[in-house]
Symmetry: C2
Subunit: 177 residues, 2 copies
DNA sequence: GGGGCTTGGTTCAAGTTTGAAACAAACCTA
DNA sequence: TAGGTTTGTTTCAAACTTGAACCAAGCCCC
């Protein structure tokens, strides 16, 4: 089967995406490192916790939310715990599990730094997009996410079904991830 | 000045983008690590070199193309050199500069692995997009790239103007970055 | 109710990235 | 043309990521 190379249009799109993705992630990391003393991923972890009604999540679920490996998360949580922004808690009904819970200090950091983060996201992304483009962005990447999650070769920690959320909480959605 | 939080639409778009970006980069890394023994970034470096008429580029220019820091590139090139896929060459007219040049072996690796890479990009991205969406993708991220490159806080290695390319070469564009 | 599979989480070593500092060569400019 | 600045690249230590291996605790099922 001969390769279906990218068309010129696809190539342009791909290169533009790759370039922007690198630059954007760098810009976010730089800004958050400055203002919050942590890279974007770590901020996202806090933001995801703040989204929960009780500000806590099992490690596996948190990994699922943030789309990172359990191993990576372990390391990150350890660091954030050292910084006093997160606390680990045991799970009653499953002795294997442990929770990561946002501390008050963690919440405070989030509240203090969320505005700057959102401002950056705006400055580099949304301020340059029309309403339609925002819609396109969502459609495109929601679909891509679906495709990627369906990928069987992906090392996944099968989502836990026994609890569905609805939630929303201070900073949280506001914190923008 | 009060924070302009993201609208619900923007939030959805942002989350979709973040999720897809993580998953996509992971998928590409995994596939290339498998088939080429290197992460996506390293493949991109080779691909960018193969795009040049003479298969070589000054370090700074290569860093500019790939949107990474000089420091990161130094490390990557050192590794690829160890693997025999790249060779460092001196610059005649500027003793400070050094070139990274694709070796025959590097070119061979690229040619061998490009089809699988393109296939992956297709499977997870383009196969799910309409022609219009491909266009939107390019527009959106071209604009975002422009915004990010205009950012003055960015630690940039000012692009060198004294040579403009036109080029295209085997694998190259085909290699898809 | 005891083996065997699965799941949740961590650990370890090797690899990669970061940002600041160091160096050297080129480029002013007085 | 000497001295100061800029530019091209590397180096270093600390931080982070990776993937495989590991350990426990639950689950299954005969």
């Amino acid at each position: 089967m001969t390769t279906r190379w990218l068309t010129p249009e696809e190539q342009r799109a791909w290169r533009a995406y790759i370039a922007a993705a690198h630059l954007l992630e760098d810009a976010l990391d730089r800004q958050l490192q400055q203002d919050a003393g942590m890279p974007h991923l770590y901020y996202s972890i806090l933001a995801n916790l703040s989204d929960e009604p009780d500000h806590r999540l099992r490690m596996t679920d948190l990994a699922e939310r943030t789309k990172i490996t359990r191993s990576r998360l372990t390391y990150a949580v350890t660091r954030l715990e050292k910084d006093g922004l997160i606390r680990r808690e045991n799970c009653n009904w499953d002795k294997r599990s442990s929770f990561a819970a946002l501390t008050d200090e963690g919440m405070a950091v989030l509240e203090r730094t969320a505005p700057g983060h959102v401002e950056t996201v705006r400055a580099f992304l949304f301020d340059h997009l029309t309403k339609e483009q925002v819609g396109q962005l969502e459609e495109i990447f929601t679909e891509v996410t679906r495709a990627l999650e369906a990928d069987e070769t992906r090392p996944s920690a099968d989502e836990v079904p026994w609890r569905r959320r609805s939630s929303s909480s201070p900073c949280s959605g506001d914190a923008s991830e």
